[in-house]
Amino acid sequence: MANQTQSRFLDLRLLAALERLRFTTRRRIDGAYSGRHQSRQLGGAGEFVDFREYTPGDDLRRLDWKVMARTGRTYLRMYQDETNLSCTMLVDVSRSMLFGGAPRAGGPGSKLQYAQYLTTALSHIVSQGQDQVGLAIASDKLHDFVPPGGTPEHVARVHSIIEAIRPRATTALGESIRQLFARLSRRGVLLVLSDFLCDDPEDIFSAIRLFRSRYWEVVCLHLVHPLEEKLPTGTAYRFDGLENEGHVDCSPAEISQRYQARFEAHCAMIRSMSLADGCDYRRVSTATPYVQTLAGFLVDRSG
């Protein structure tokens, strides 16, 4: 499929190494069209997998007449349908995602920038796999939403929206996810790209649980900047919050260890909440090149 976008976040030369990788799911999914992913439906086409006794209401076309002739009992032949994937990427665009936007000494850029590269590349790969990709831009609310689609024009639109992302003041990711949930009618895969830095992570995961209750596959990509993992060295710093949290004066040397422990605890909490809700969790450091991150992610998912 010819790519028709000119997004600055899409570098096809880097992605050439990933052309054979496909975004796969670990569960069977529902899709609108036939594809290469196992469908949750066991239909009348595809690969035979099992027999099942007929119950009233079943499609008589799937009845195994030969078995009924031999045994006098009615069985249906079950075939595994293959369908396409509907992947919706939810990108957190709160101001905390801007952290690292002024990289020093050639370090990584902001988390948001990293997310833009990652989602653009992923959408490209998903669309290359004949799957559908959708996009949701969220912060305090759902700001933009593109339902999953697979056409080049759709992908180009997704890319252009990603390119045009502007950060928002605050985070209310839980509410955004609920709004997204209300607008999605079919099952699929939800990728949440966020730093999960908010006052109430539980609210996020309560919203995610809505998706999980509808058998969505949810993948939490936890974006972490290296400067968040470890405070800078120095005697006196004034740290300014990015989401109207005010500022705090302190000596990083005095709290460095406690801060690291606190941050690791936050990451561990997000991970445990993700796993507890049946989500896939992946901690993504922006220090790692996004192509490497993407390759690892795809390889892991392909099993």
């Binding site: 830095l197 006052d199 120095g234 740290f239 941050f263």
Partner: protein, 700 residues
């Protein structure tokens, strides 16, 4: 109460230093946006109580440390009253405190100066006591009371105690006691009277004091601040250049060094005279003074400054390890022989005298002195004035003008050697005495011998052999003078009320043989004999005797001593220094009050330099324009170098004169209270150490 009360307000201000330092040294924070600021806020919030506790502890420790440091500087005072336990607390007390500030109080023992030990004791004694009037007398060469009479202005007294420093003077203890006695007397009889004396009680200064000058009811407390063990001390006690120093003639520099330590010491001293450096070395036995000698020679006439410095010495008093002195270099002297005798008449009396003078200078291996023979009838004022020593032998009758000139020259410092052989000499001497007036008082009156009496075969019946010129013969003087036989000369009779010591030798007929007496700044010597009819010229004693006499008259045997600092100064300037107009005083001591230099004023015999107290050790010069006409050096009195203390029992047994005397040593148990400040300093350091420990404990 504090010794240095000024430290309290400074300390109070300094207590705010920790806060000020905190704000001044607070680092300017680096601004940085942080997405996880909520975590930082959470940690800081959790730890704020921890940090607040740390900050309070550190602030408290620093504040206490500064407070202790302030107390170290302020030196808190503890009660050390002289009042006995049964003293009536309501009675008025007049307390005088004599604080010894002589040089010996600058002695350092165990790293502490004696005056530093005395300071807190003195401050306590003059401090605020109820019903008490106090005064402080700073005692050195002259006592200096802070107030004219006892006062309740304790703050000033404490301030004066704090400002007291050792002076380069000896302690005149008796004068200090007299001053205290006068103050007690002036203060009336009301109440109790106490005298506190804080000193190191040097034996040299206190052995002769008399406490009986004090009122009988005065309670005397002696506070000794002397070290338990007398500090070893080496000192230059005297530097002298005996005799008249003349250009290009070697002279001797005598450096007297006192060894006030229990062991013999090898000493080395550097003598700096102008640009030349000399070194003297020698051994000093314990408890004695040794004279080290070196020779020097100067080529320029005039006054020279010089200094002696003991090298490689560490002792109790550092200030007495160097001493300044001055040297006056004269040109070669000119002898004027006034005689009517012909130079060709040999032998003659004048011939003997001339040869003796020349021979004496030759025997010393030096250039022969110049003798100018002049007939008195043809002598003029210029010739007389140009001579350094006037020798009269058979001068005949002197004119009135000559007498007047000789008298004036004598008063202004010239020497005159008169060989009285003829009756007319009696007249000359009488006229000379009359012209000189009160400046010249001969011990005898010379008269012509009575008619019919022949003066011959006279021998010396009484000789003051310890005096010049006989002292050079030492114990052999009797062997030298007994063969001498004299003839001629004048009869003499003693003058009532005159100084008999001026008669050096007496004949067997009780007439004077040799008279040496002062006349103003000069000296007159009369040798009453006709040399031509005496065997003295043939005696081996003749040349040395004449040499000694001329040396004495030329001030060649004069030793230029240094003047003691702090002592009254009164010295006549040389005759050449007159008139007083155009003279000015200069000192090598920087930052010296010009008033302390004293003043110059004209007197009958010349210009006198007078000062209430000689200034601190150094060189003082009288200059006319840029030329020095006179110089003198002042130095620490030698007795201040001997730090041996007087035994306390002596005060009670002999010196107290029945007064109630108590003796206490600062080195006893009370010393620990005096050194409380050291414990405060230790406490200060401990608190600073605990602060560092706390910071480490809080991982800050």
């Amino acid at each position: 109460m504090f010794l240095h009360a000024w430290a309290i307000p400074i300390g109070a201000v300094a207590l705010s230093a920790p806060l000020v330092i905190h704000f001044l040294t607070r680092p300017k924070p680096v601004r940085m946006p942080l997405s996880t600021v909520r975590f930082v806020q959470e940690i800081v919030r959790q730890r704020s109580a921890h940090y607040r506790l740390r900050d309070w502890i550190i602030l408290a420790l620093r504040t206490v440390a500064i407070a202790l440091l302030t107390l170290v500087l302020a030196r808190p005072l503890f009660d050390r009253s002289v009042s006995p336990a049964n003293a009536d607390p309501t009675s008025t007390v007049v307390r005088l405190v004599i604080l010894d500030v002589s040089q010996s109080m600058g002695a350092v023992a165990q790293g502490i100066q004696s005056l530093e030990r005395a300071r807190p004791i003195a401050a306590r004694q003059v401090n605020d006591w109820s019903n008490t009037q106090a005064n402080l007398i700073l005692a050195a060469a002259t006592p200096q009371p802070v107030f004219e009479r006892p006062s309740t202005n304790f703050a000033t007294l404490v301030d004066e105690v704090g400002k007291a420093t050792p002076r380069p003077e000896r302690l005149n203890a008796q004068q200090a006691l007299n001053s205290a006695a006068e103050m007690f007397t002036n203060s009336g009889n009301a109440g109790r009277r106490e005298l506190v004396i804080i000193s190191d009680f040097q034996r040299a200064n206190w052995a002769g004091v008399d406490f009986t000058v004090l009122p009988v009811d005065v309670v005397i407390q002696l506070e000794s601040v002397a070290a338990a063990e007398t500090p070893s001390n080496l000192a230059i006690t005297r530097v002298g250049t005996p005799g008249r120093i003349e250009r290009d003639r070697p002279f001797r520099v005598e450096v007297e060094i006192g060894n006030y330590s229990p062991s013999p010491r090898q000493v080395s001293a550097e003598v700096a005279i102008g640009k030349s450096q000399l070194r003297v070395q020698g051994s000093c036995p314990p408890g004695q003074r040794s004279v080290l000698v070196t020779d020097a020679k100067l080529t320029e006439v005039g006054w020279h400054s010089a200094e002696v410095l003991l090298t490689g010495i560490e002792d109790g008093i550092e200030a007495d390890n160097h001493r300044s002195f001055v040297i006056e270099v004269h040109p070669q002297p000119t002898f004027l022989l006034l005689t009517r005798q012909s130079a060709d008449a040999r032998p003659s009396s004048s011939y003997f005298v001339e040869r003796a003078i020349v021979s004496h200078s030759n025997t010393q291996g030096q250039m022969a002195d110049k003798v100018v023979r002049v007939d008195p009838l043809r002598v003029d004022r210029d010739t007389l004035t140009a001579a350094d020593l006037l020798v009269l032998d058979h001068p005949g009758k002197l004119s009135e003008e000559t007498i007047q000139i000789l008298s004036a020259l004598l008063r202004r410092g010239r020497g005159l050697l008169y060989f009285a052989a003829e009756p007319i000499d009696a007249t000359n001497l009488k006229l000379l005495a009359q012209t000189a007036g009160t400046s010249l008082q001969l011990p005898v009156e010379f008269q012509p011998a009575p008619i019919g009496q022949v003066r011959k075969n006279l021998f010396l019946a009484d000789v003051r052999w310890r005096e010049m010129p006989f002292r050079i013969f030492g114990e052999d003087v009797s062997a030298v003078v007994s063969p001498l036989r004299f003839g001629g000369g004048l009869a003499s009779r003693r003058v009532e009320g005159s100084l008999s010591d001026d008669v050096i030798a007496t004949y067997n007929d009780q007439s004077a043989c040799l008279v040496v007496t002062a006349c103003g700044a000069g000296t007159l010597a009369v040798l009453n004999a006709e040399l031509g009819s005496s065997n003295l010229p043939a005696s081996p004693a003749f040349v040395p005797m004449i040499g000694e006499l001329t040396a004495h008259l030329l001030n060649r045997d004069r030793v230029y001593e240094t003047f003691a600092s702090g002592e009254p100064l009164a010295v006549y300037l040389p005759a050449a220094a007159s008139p007083v107009a155009g003279l000015r005083l200069e000192s090598s001591v920087s930052s010296l009050d010009p008033a302390m230099l004293g003043d110059l004023h004209e007197e009958n015999v010349g210009v006198m330099w007078q000062a209430v107290a000689a200034g601190p050790p150094g060189i003082y010069q009288v200059k006319r324009q840029q030329q020095s006409v006179f110089a003198l050096a002042t130095a620490i009195p030698a007795e201040e170098s001997d730090l041996v203390t007087i035994e306390s029992e002596l005060f009670k047994d002999r010196l107290s004169g029945g007064r109630h005397v108590t003796y206490r040593s600062a080195m006893d148990d009370d010393e620990s209270r005096d050194e409380a400040w050291t414990w405060l300093a230790v406490g200060c350091l401990v608190f600073l150490f605990v602060e560092v420990l706390s910071l480490r404990l809080f991982k800050s």
